[in-house]
Symmetry: C2
Subunit: 192 residues, 2 copies
Amino acid sequence: MAQPDKRRRILDAAVTVFAQNGFYNSKVSQVAREAGVADGTIYLYFKNKEDILIQVFIDSMAAILARQETALANLTDPAEKLRVFIATHFNSVAESRALAEVLTVEVRQSSKFMRGTDMKPFGQYLGMIARIIDDGVVSGAFRSNVDSRLSARAIFGAIDELSLAWAMERGSAALSDACERVTAFFMTGLEA
Amino acid sequence: MAQPDKRRRILDAAVTVFAQNGFYNSKVSQVAREAGVADGTIYLYFKNKEDILIQVFIDSMAAILARQETALANLTDPAEKLRVFIATHFNSVAESRALAEVLTVEVRQSSKFMRGTDMKPFGQYLGMIARIIDDGVVSGAFRSNVDSRLSARAIFGAIDELSLAWAMERGSAALSDACERVTAFFMTGLEA
DNA sequence: TCCCCCTGAATGGTGATTCATTCACCCGCA
DNA sequence: TGCGGGTGAATGAATCACCATTCAGGGGGA
């Protein structure tokens, strides 16, 4: 057969299946069928079932990190950086509802087992947000008394929750719309 | 014997065990041992393993909803309401790290199966936040162009993520501290 | 022919759930 | 007061379906 990247096919299949049934209710044989390979083939590419989930996570985070870096590369205005960051996150998520579900729901449960192993990409992601804020504070665009780590967490939590809401229930306003609104919310707050 | 609190004992034990191992890696027999009952006894009180998780969720949400309602009852200033809401959420979470883990991590994965069944308490919780915002808009305390549903989601996502961070890594700043900071963040935003 | 993928049926461990049995307690009758 | 049968909560060993993982073999390219 020598199909191009068989590993890739398995990862994609896993995202589909995991999103549909949840990780623990998914059978390896389902992933195999969806990928069009034999059950045993999975084990030529992955150590075991959980390893598939971890690789999905690592791959996806690497992709979105790279994408964010490209998107932010030429920007200087902190507010604009934040807006683009959020837009890029939402766009990435919007490209695959299944991936959004896996990243927001399934990965969380195994994060406990990945303790120490490879939460690094996630830390990097938070770090990107924190840096945007720090830059904004330094440049004077942002208030000087914000706690960048805490705000980064809060912002991530907010956009992650919005992604999940979007992934679960179709029909809510387009993510691109939410992007503008939520950016405005972070920038100016609620206060009249 | 007819321990009136046997159900309670099982629920508490479940929270402890689920927080430690994750729902799918927890054995019913572990919960039984932790609760000091026989395996079979569990099934006198719960339909099956997942039912335990659902009941934990329903019970906990009912408790925190009631608590929020009490806490907010006599307040009128919208900003103060928001501050107290967040404080109450953090206080509830801070009382039990295990419960925080179960509510932020374990329940999510089953939300997919609860589709339609009993996400209602969660919807109510979001509704409380949205109402605070709406009231603020009406009273003129908050900007008139905020989207209350979206902001409510964002705020919930943010405080949920902060709760999770707190539950996972001990040693971070006290939640009570985070409460003030994050409220300020929501109120005034990042902009200088 | 040799080697490398790949296959998918068979295996073995696991753990949720069941159910026959025990036991504590209650009630009515003598 | 003492006795006997009835009730149902509680038990926990046994069941059994399920599924991750393995591995003996197949086939095609060099």
